[in-house]
């Protein structure tokens, strides 16, 4: 039987602290990862050969290696070259870098789906490349990329649990400590699972609303 007094008094207080850390990680990493993704995607499509190559190398590395390995490098590896991050910072940086790589692929696909004539018309009006990208290409491409980017953000909510592997005690980490102490793995991880489900639902709902709000006839 699930004991409610255990959940209410012993489990929930530390979990809520953990949830707060998780939320902080997400609120920081999701927008920063998206911005990074936009920059990388634009660099890949419109950059010169060097920039384009660097952006491709970036995505290849971060999509091609396990996130956990990336986090270990950031937290356990970098101190050997004199760079120290707090667990929270290491986790946040890792998530930003990783989700940026995934976002960039969704956004790149969306940019490449925009008809060439859009850029041509912008340039014919006298816009430079930068303005054309900012005012004409990205507003269209980002709308098209919303479903893919939403997917990445909901994944981020879930893989934020890896933060505890670099000793950043967020939701999963907080739960694991309690579970270990009381040997109540089922209850603890069931509750944690429900909390993740709630968070993902809220994020999904928010992103759906955003997509609807930004919807333009004939685009998307």
């Amino acid at each position: 039987m699930i004991e409610f007094s255990f959940i209410n008094h012993i489990l929930l207080p530390p979990l809520l602290k953990g949830v707060w850390i998780t939320i902080k990680i997400i609120i920081l990493s999701a927008p920063a990862g998206l911005v990074l993704g936009i920059l990388i995607a634009v660099g890949r499509v419109y950059g010169n050969r060097i920039i384009s190559f660097l952006c491709t190398a970036y995505t290849t590395f971060f999509r091609g290696t396990p996130l956990l390995v990336q986090l270990f490098i950031l937290y356990y590896g970098l101190p050997s070259v004199g760079i120290f991050f707090s667990p929270f910072t290491a986790a946040a940086i890792g998530f930003i870098l990783c989700s940026g790589a995934y976002h960039s692929e969704y956004i790149r696909g969306a940019i490449q789906s925009i008809k060439k004539g859009q850029m041509m018309a912008a340039e014919a009006l006298g816009m430079n490349k930068f303005k054309a990208i900012l005012y004409i290409i990205l507003p269209q491409a980002l709308r098209r990329a919303i479903p893919g980017c939403s997917n990445e953000i909901t994944s981020l909510v879930q893989y934020s649990s890896l933060a505890y592997m670099v000793t950043c005690i967020e939701l999963t980490g907080a739960g694991k400590i309690i579970a270990n102490r009381y040997f109540k793995y089922t209850e603890v991880f069931l509750v944690i699972g429900i909390i993740y489900l709630l968070m993902v639902s809220v994020v999904t709902k928010f992103l759906d609303m955003l997509e609807k709000k930004l919807k333009i006839p004939g685009l998307g």
């Binding site: 004539g117 018309a121 340039e123 014919a124 009006l125 006298g126 709308r143 006839p217 685009l219």
Partner: protein, 258 residues
């Protein structure tokens, strides 16, 4: 007298190669203020490439372009300053899909010319009225018919107060019943004295509106002259054949009875 009118656009010896294929083999012509020049010719003869070479959307391999006496090619000035003065209308409209008709016109004014928002809006509405679409100001491109889209795109180019307008087959992507409304707008511009270069297959229209028709074939100007001369007394058999074929195909409904 036409000879005394100021030269707006001058094109000299434009050449362009794509790989081994020579698309343009030395094109030269000039356009004077208020002129309407119509470029005709079989498809694949480089007419669209020529227009794009004028505002450097395609960089020619050789040749020079002057706009109002200033050299556009090899200029120290940014090409964007010239492009503002060269309005361009595309075959497939290229309206910005995420912006309403009104915003499509405003954006160049605000982001390129740096005009204040309220002023830009006023100007944009005025331009929409000119092409008869002020009722459609808040519709997105996907909500407009082809003819309406093309009229908005003409208004977008006009709003920049260009010295010359380039039209790249402006009616070729339209359903037949929508061609008239677009030609009507272009005709109105001609009457108002806008300087224009058009690539088109609408021979009736060319005949009634152009001061000069340029017949291009295989990347060269084969012959050029006023419409009556080209239609009634062309120098080359090839010109005659082309005009006959294209007139049969597109009709002459727009011909003026003069």
């Amino acid at each position: 007298m036409p000879e005394e009118k100021k030269i707006i656009l001058q094109v000299e010896d434009i050449c362009k190669k794509y790989g081994k294929e020579e698309v343009l083999k030395g094109i030269s012509f000039e356009v004077r203020k208020g002129d309407t020049k119509v470029i005709i010719g079989p498809s694949g003869t480089g007419k669209s490439t020529l227009l794009r070479c004028i505002n450097q959307l395609t960089i020619p391999d050789k040749g020079k372009v002057w706009l109002e006496g200033e050299e556009v090619t090899h200029s120290k000035k940014s090409i964007n300053q010239f492009r503002q003065k060269i309005g361009m209308v595309f075959q497939d409209f290229n309206l910005f899909d995420h912006l309403t008709a009104l915003k499509n016109i405003e954006i160049g004014l605000i982001k390129v010319k740096g005009i204040k928002k309220e002023e830009a809006k006023k100007k944009a509405i005025e331009e929409l009225r000119q092409v008869g679409l002020e009722q459609q100001a808040n519709l997105y491109p996907a909500q407009l018919s082809g003819g309406q889209k093309q009229r908005v795109s003409i208004a977008r180019a006009l709003a920049m107060d260009p010295s010359v307008m380039l039209f790249d087959e402006p009616t070729s992507a339209l359903d037949p019943e929508l061609i008239g409304e677009v030609l009507e707008v272009i005709k109105m511009l001609a009457i108002k004295g806008m300087t224009m270069v058009l690539v088109t297959h609408e021979m009736g229209f060319a005949r009634s509106v152009a001061n000069e028709i340029i017949f291009m074939e295989e990347g060269k100007i084969l012959e050029s002259g006023p419409p009556y001369k080209l239609f009634n007394n062309p120098k080359y058999e090839r010109t005659k054949k082309f005009l006959k074929k294209i007139t049969e195909l597109y009709g002459e409904s727009d011909e003026k009875n003069d």
